[in-house]
């Protein structure tokens, strides 16, 4: 292998800082494997992986052991394995089949599924690895398989081909050395991005020429960040090396596709599993839902119950056996081996045997059912036609099904503003040059009306001096951007196409603001044509083409919040044009009509428009040289390049002359206001986190009804903290916020809706900006006081229904989410956003929702759920979230309930069988109870249940409060279910016991044995738990009928069959005719009916009484009405018209088990 790793210092890295010299974690790639002319470098060959992509986890040989190992690493599987092994090793009451079979089933199903997925991956890998690619070898193009690409190979890629590995662009068929690439399959962004060839090699556009390049590339070892790359290319021309910087604009990523470019030459630098795409394969950290946490808590309780039961029985057994008459009656002699065994070992074995006997209380099937429920249930989200967006052609996407129910538990919604609340469909509204306002007019369907005067002046006509700055302003906007022109036709057609306004070519940019600005300029008469040979071409008002040489682009970043270009006009003057947020421009402005522009900017911001300021600086040749040096030095740095670039930018973008400002409108998304209002009514606190200006953001908040007319908006901004210390400001606010709640307003006590409308209902909103926020969060000199600030701040926020955080950096968004998550109530948070800057908060929040927006797909890709529009959040939370929460909580509670019913009689039976671990039920019943007799109805319930109609849930968001705070899985409700289970078990067991009490209950005088007793209890059990579900089902479709009655029929048929045959392969025939004999007895029927009734009666009574005396909002709505049409019931209207008390979580004083939700209004 000729690819090597440099260990020595690079001779061309003159101006490096000392730290970089130790930095050996880079790689040197020889283009085309050609060694450079004697470079005096000692190098150690490094092995790079080949270009094979291995996404599969298993091979044919290691599948079984590896998969089994993976599966048994899960704690629950491991538990069942242990139980199974105990059954195998010691003599236990139930056969190993009873736990082995379900475990085997679960493991096999999972293994098959994983195996199938892996097989698919193998297939995909193979097709990728074997796909043909073209390599340049010795001046010839050679075809080879993709997997054989090595680092350093020079590849030829043709249009519409996908890059087989990470490549550095050497040259392209286009003269300017650029190529267009779409990264749709990487991050979903379908816009074409421009990549640049290395300047010194872009002229080499044939195989032979490319073959003659002698160069090495030094770059960092592969990193997963798709958007970061630093490297350096050393080109040996006449043995004189030239070093050029390489950045992410030179790096073509595997998975991206070449577009609009005939062919390119590029050199492979990262291959196979080291490509950035492969490094991004790893999955995100798993989020766990609140329901899952409750489930685990219950599991621990049940584990304790299990151990407790086993322990009690073991102790009682030895107490019972202490009586020598009972220890070893003559009819039940111990074997010699048993007699010799030490008592401690015997006791321990007994303990294990009890554990095995009662282990069904923690059923394997619950995990399977929960998984299936989540997996299958998430399809309803994807299938939802209401969440389908026609424009995008997308419906909702579920990336993790683990969080479905968490959607019903959200308390805080953190939303991005741009692209989430708003359309991110920018429209140029006006610009202001030195205080003169220009509004483009005569717009028709987005097209400029031909022949019309392209400008409308609002202000008095400017003088000649103004005209000059006006032109400079327009040129600045035409030049200072990174917009590309997408051409549908030939190169010659562009100009024509743009000129006549035909849609054959249009602007593309990663930022919609820029497109709006450039389009706005077009309407004002300055048309940006294209970037050709580093020259930007502008068609000015006189239809003349002006050419500016683009010298540098100081790209936009969200910290600096501005971007600049340095251009050289045809006259030779060099300008720096800078545009950015007002806060980042004004401090750098030295002259210009600052006051006028500032006024206008503020005016526009209040209108809800997005404003940008434009400034320029004329550079003398010396200044330019200096600038160039600064930039180049920073760019050449391998280490810490970003920081150094930021410093360089900071030095360059100073002493600006203010030109003017622009205003762009970002319209609200449709139904955004309605959605926000619904979320409020549902008791969620909505926070807007935006990087935008305070005024703009506040305007959007008012428009989207985040702040209503009655809302008292509190400000905690830099402006305020300048007047007052942060400390005082915080305390002032907290006093304001807390005062009203000292009044005994007790929501639960005052049922008069009129009072709800009065002034008592003051509702607070808070505006805070990034700077103040970091001051609040920053640990101050005294650690204690900082903690206080945080607490006070949280206290204020808790009492505000809406909070607006503006001027936020992306990381601050995540910080806020984290802060709220960690506050003492541990509320469930949801973050929704559409852009790359929202990813951190989406990953941080309990539930992350991505909008498939215009700013790319990163947010959607990193989210748990992706939806096309903000408005879909309403259905997602209010309907799907609500349903899934109801469904899964019933699923969890019911599963524990039915297993208490199942196992508790076994426990009771021990008291009658001398604590000998005799199982009550037959093996088949033990095994199949959870697998088939009672599994399907609850699974179906958990997929289909709709306790309230979809439309009512949408219409009345307040219903969401009924399930807030994980209320269906609180301890009182869990205890209720458990007690109900114990009660049912007692009824079943003792009912059957008294029936059997030493009497005959056949008409022929014959007696029944213990298996009949067990079967009687089991029959009552199966019917009781199924009927309990029947009572809980509020949504009976034909499928429910089919499954519920079907599973009961299945039980009966199975029992008849199981007892109907002398099973040839079995050693015991204890169930033979037991079920039929039981059914032939009248009293058995009568007692089955009675016991089922008695078992269900308390639950029915509890339901009816709770509904009559303390109905929840949900239950009231459930009451069937004569016309369930659009007529809104009175109480719904009340919720809508009155103010919604967001702030108080009422704790009603009624029977806790009745509480379906916390919000039980009086």
């Amino acid at each position: 292998c000729m690819c090597v790793l440099t260990r020595s210092l690079n001779p061309f890295s003159g101006g490096q800082c000392a730290g970089e010299e130790d930095w050996v974690d880079n790689r040197t790639v020889y283009i085309g494997h050609k060694e450079p002319p004697p470079g005096a470098e000692a190098y150690i060959p490094q092995r790079y992986p080949d270009n094979r992509i291995v996404s599969s986890k298993y091979t044919f040989w290691n599948f079984v052991p590896k998969n089994l190992f993976e599966q048994f690493r899960r704690i629950a599987n491991f538990y069942f394995l242990i139980i199974f092994l105990v059954q195998l090793i010691i003599d236990t009451p139930t056969s190993p089949i009873t736990s082995g079979l379900p475990l085997f089933f679960v493991i096999t199903v999972t293994a098959i599924k994983q195996g199938y997925e892996d097989w698919l991956r193998h297939k995909a890998d193979n097709s990728v690895n074997q796909c043909p690619v073209h390599e340049v070898q010795h001046g010839k193009v050679v075809r080879k398989q993709s997997r054989k690409i090595r680092v350093g190979d020079v590849m030829l890629i043709k249009e519409n081909e996908t890059f087989p590995c990470d490549l550095i662009l050497l040259s392209s068929s286009r003269d300017d050395g650029t190529c267009f690439v779409t990264t749709a399959s990487l991050d979903g962004e379908s816009s074409h991005k421009t990549y640049y060839a290395v300047q010194d090699t872009k002229a080499y556009t044939t195989e032979e020429e490319v073959d003659s390049i002698k160069a090495t590339i030094e770059c960092e070892q592969p990193q997963p960040d798709l958007y970061k790359f630093v490297g350096r290319v050393n080109i040996y021309m006449d043995n004189e090396p030239v070093a050029r910087p390489l950045g992410s604009e030179n790096l073509l990523l595997r998975g991206a596709t070449l577009k609009n470019t005939a062919y390119i030459y590029a050199v492979a630098i990262y291959t196979g599993m080291e490509t950035k795409m492969a490094l991004n394969y790893q999955t995100k950290t798993q989020k766990r839902s609140a329901v899952e946490k409750s489930m685990n808590a219950y599991l621990v309780v049940y584990l304790c119950i299990l151990i407790g039961k086993a322990f009690i029985n073991t102790v009682l057994k030895y107490v019972w056996q202490a009586d020598p008459n009972q220890d070893e009656p003559w009819y039940n002699n111990r074997t010699d081996a048993e007699k010799e065994r030490h008592i401690v070992i015997r006791a321990f074995t007994d303990f294990l045997a009890y554990m095995v006997l009662f282990n069904y209380i923690i059923p394997v099937s619950m995990y399977v059912t929960v998984e299936m429920q989540k997996f299958l249930g998430s399809y309803f989200i994807m299938w939802d036609d209401d969440m389908y967006d026609k424009e995008l052609g997308e419906s909702a996407v579920v990336n993790t099904s683990d969080l479905n129910e968490e959607l019903g538990q959200v308390e805080y919604v953190f939303t991005d503003k741009t692209g989430t609340l708003t359309e991110n469909n920018m429209e140029f509204i006006e610009c202001c040059v030195d205080g003169h306002v220009y509004v483009p007019q005569a717009i028709c369907n987005g097209q400029v009306m031909p022949g019309s005067d392209t400008m409308d002046m609002i202000d008095s006509s400017p003088g000649p001096r103004a005209r000059e700055s006006e032109e400079l302003f327009f040129r600045a906007l035409c030049l200072c951007h990174t917009v590309q022109v997408k051409e549908e036709e030939t190169v010659d057609g562009i100009k024509h196409g743009l000129h006549s306004g035909r849609p054959s070519s249009f602007y593309i940019s990663s930022s919609p603001d820029e497109v709006a600005l450039v389009e706005g300029m077009k309407r004002l008469g300055y048309t940006y044509l294209r970037l050709k040979d580093s020259h930007m071409e502008i068609l000015n008002r006189e239809d003349q083409v002006e050419r500016f040489e683009l010298l540098e682009v100081l790209t936009f970043d969200s910290v600096r919040r501005r971007m600049s270009v340095i251009v050289r006009a045809s006259t030779g003057e060099v300008y720096l044009f800078c545009k950015g947020a007002d806060s980042s421009i004004f401090p750098r402005v030295v002259s210009g009509k600052v006051e006028e522009v500032k006024d206008r900017v503020e005016h526009n911001a209040i209108e809800g428009l997005r404003t940008l300021c434009v400034a320029y600086r004329a550079l003398t040749p010396e200044q330019y040289e200096e600038t160039y040096r600064l930039l180049n030095e920073a760019r050449l740095a391998l280490h810490d390049r970003d920081r150094r670039l930021a410093e360089a930018y900071d030095q360059i973008e100073t002493q600006l002359v203010l030109l003017g400002a622009t205003a762009v409108e970002d319209r609200l998304q449709e139904e955004a206001a309605d959605t926000v209002e619904s979320l409020h009514q549902a008791g969620m606190k909505v926070w807007v986190l935006t990087g935008d200006k305070m005024e703009t953001a506040a305007a959007t908040c008012y428009a989207s009804k985040l702040f209503r007319r009655g809302t008292r908006v509190l400000e905690l901004t830099t402006k305020r903290t300048e007047e007052q210390s942060l400390h005082d400001a915080l305390f002032d606010l907290s006093r304001t916020v807390l005062r009203p709640h000292r009044e005994p307003s007790g929501l639960g006590l005052d049922p008069d809706p009129v009072s709800g409308l009065s002034g008592e209902c003051s509702d607070f909103g808070l505006i805070i900006d990034g700077a103040t926020l970091s001051a609040v969060l920053q640990p101050g000199p005294e650690a204690s006081s900082a903690g206080d600030y945080k607490e006070i701040f949280l206290e204020i926020c808790r009492n505000c229904s809406a909070v607006l955080c503006c001027r936020m950096a992306p990381l601050q968004k995540a910080q806020i989410v984290k802060l709220i998550k960690a506050s003492k109530e541990h509320p469930i948070t949801l973050a929704i956003g559409d852009g790359a800057n929202d990813v951190s908060m989406i990953l941080e929040a309990h539930v992350g929702i991505g909008i498939m927006g215009k700013e790319g797909r990163q947010a959607a890709r990193n989210s748990d759920y992706a939806i096309p529009k903000f408005k879909h959040l309403k259905k997602m939370l209010l309907v799907h979230g609500h349903y899934y929460y109801i469904r899964i909580s019933e699923l969890v509670q019911y599963f524990f309930y039915k297993n208490v019913c199942f196992i508790f009689p076994q426990f009771l039976y021990q008291f009658f069988c001398g604590f000998s671990q005799q199982p009550l039920y037959d093996t088949a019943y033990l095994t199949l109870y959870n697998i088939s007799f009672t599994s399907l109805p609850i699974l179906l319930y958990s997929l289909m249940e709709q306790h309230i109609n979809i439309d009512i849930l949408r219409k009345d968001p307040t219903l969401y409060r009924d399930i807030s705070k994980n209320c269906l899985l609180r301890w009182p409700i869990f205890i209720y279910w458990t007690i109900l289970g114990v009660y049912d078990a007692m009824v079943m067991f003792f009912g059957a016991y008294f029936l059997f009490d030493n009497t005959t209950f056949t008409s022929n005088g014959q007696m029944f044995g213990n298996w009949t007793f067990g079967t009687l209890v089991f029959t009552v059990l199966v019917f009781t738990v199924t009927f309990k579900l029947v009572l809980d089902t509020h949504y009976w479709t034909w499928i429910n009928h089919f499954v519920i009655w079907g599973s009961l029929i299945f039980f009966v048929v199975f029992s008849l069959l199981w007892g109907g045959i002398i099973w040839p392969f079995l050693n015991y025939q204890r169930m033979y005719y037991v079920f039929m004999q039981m059914l032939s007895s009248g009293p058995a029927w009568l007692s089955i009916i009675l016991l089922i009734t008695a078992g269900l009666l308390p639950d029915v009574v509890k339901k009816v009484i709770c509904r009559a005396l303390w109905p929840t909002t949900t239950e009231r709505i459930q009451v069937p009405r004569p016309q369930p049409g659009p007529a809104t019931p009175a109480f719904i209207q009340r919720h809508h018209q009155g103010c919604v008390p967001n702030l108080v979580v009422s704790q009603p004083g009624c029977v806790p088990i009745c509480v379906l939700g916390t919000h039980r209004d009086a």
């Binding site: 997996f375 052609g393 209950f1001 007696m1007 044995g1009 509020h1034 005719y1073």
Partner: protein, 368 residues
């Protein structure tokens, strides 16, 4: 258990996405099922829906309870503990000595029936504090042997521990602790109307006491040739250690009632659910006077061959005479349970009616 079934929804989806680009490519089907809008019936448990049911149920339970009570009152039952009664006390005392365990002992118990037992009379023996439901004991049997599988006859299952083979390694048939501990007292009932009247032996039919299916399908003797006797079939096996007779001689009177299909054995092999139980011994034959209507009132005596030791586990032995209706023997639990349920439901129904009257008549009342 994360991701047991539902893992990579998203990834698969995304990669598909790039492939399809039609504007409606991802539009979900608009079927009622997918949109969760299947027509459905939504019943609610409200006072007004539940109350009629409650009243109906109370009445129904009452009717059932009363009729069951009447039926149960029509049955008669007599229990006689003979463990230490009459001359059996001698046997009881003698069996206390372990060395007498195998010896037969006869005794007699007398009793009087105050009322006539009308109809079919069933004769049971009962045991108390005998745990037929101990796990090791219950498992100690080999059904494969008793359903007549030839290969299992001489290879009893390891379940039969500790009664698989005797000391000489001869397989035991029937093996296991259950069979070994088979109840071996026998009874002969005599009737003497008044003192001085002639003594009539009460005829007991000793068949039909086991389940029909057990007797005719499940329990089978090992297959034999026509020429073989039952004794020959069982050759090479030995009887359980506590037995006095081999399995093929259990019923000396009826040759067809021997081996694994002996009804006493079958009855014993159906293990009782609780430590106090009774098992059917025989049924009164009502063909001859004075027993055509059942057992007449008067004095009776039972001659007992007293073999079964119970003192070691503080057990008691009983004889039970009982008549049976369609409902079975004298079981008062079910009628009482029905009556109690009826009462409870009725009280609850009244309570709910009050609630309904005061609050629930119209749900809107609650809002005002």
């Amino acid at each position: 258990m994360q991701g047991l079934l539902g893992k990579p929804l998203g990834r698969v989806h995304w990669s598909n996405k790039a492939a399809k680009t039609g504007p409606l490519a991802h539009r979900p089907d608009n079927s009622a099922f997918m949109q969760q809008r299947l027509p459905a019936w939504s019943p609610m448990l409200t006072t007004s829906t539940v109350l009629p049911f409650m009243y109906c149920m109370a009445v129904l339970c009452l009717v059932v309870g009363v009729s069951l009570l009447i039926t149960v009152q029509g049955t008669q039952e007599m229990k006689l503990d003979y463990t230490e009664a009459g001359t059996c006390n001698n046997c009881f005392q003698s069996l206390k000595n372990v060395s007498n365990a195998g010896k037969s002992c006869s005794c007699r118990v007398v009793f009087t029936l105050e009322h006539e037992f009308k109809g079919d009379v069933f004769f049971y023996y009962g045991l108390q504090n005998f745990h037929q439901n101990l796990r090791k004991y219950m498992d100690s049997r080999d059904d494969a042997q008793m359903v007549g599988r030839k290969q299992n006859l001489k290879n009893p299952s390891s379940y039969c521990e500790p009664y698989i083979r005797d000391e000489k390694d001869v397989p035991i048939a029937p093996c296991g602790a259950v069979a070994n501990s088979m109840f071996n007292d026998s009874f002969a009932l005599q009737y003497q109307g008044q003192p001085g009247d002639p003594i009539n032996t009460v005829p007991l039919y000793r068949k039909g006491i086991a389940w029909y299916t057990d007797e005719n399908v499940k329990f089978r003797n090992p297959p034999k040739n026509k020429s073989q006797t039952l004794a020959q079939v069982f050759e090479g096996t030995t009887s359980p250690p506590y037995w006095q007779k081999p399995v093929y001689l259990l019923d000396p009177l009826d040759a067809t009632n021997n081996g694994f299909i002996n009804e006493d054995l079958i009855v014993w092999m159906r293990e009782a659910a609780f430590p106090n139980f009774k098992k059917l011994y025989g049924v009164l034959v009502r063909t001859q006077e004075p027993f055509t209507n059942g057992l007449p009132a008067g004095n009776y005596s039972i001659d007992i061959v007293y073999n079964f030791p119970v003192q070691y586990f503080k057990g008691r032995k009983q004889v039970v005479l009982s008549t049976v209706t369609w409902f079975g023997g004298q079981n008062r639990f079910l009628p009482i349970a029905y009556l109690v349920t009826s009462g409870l439901v009725f009280i609850i129904a009244i309570f709910l009616t009050v609630i309904w009257w005061k609050f629930g008549k119209d749900a809107k009342n609650m809002n005002e």
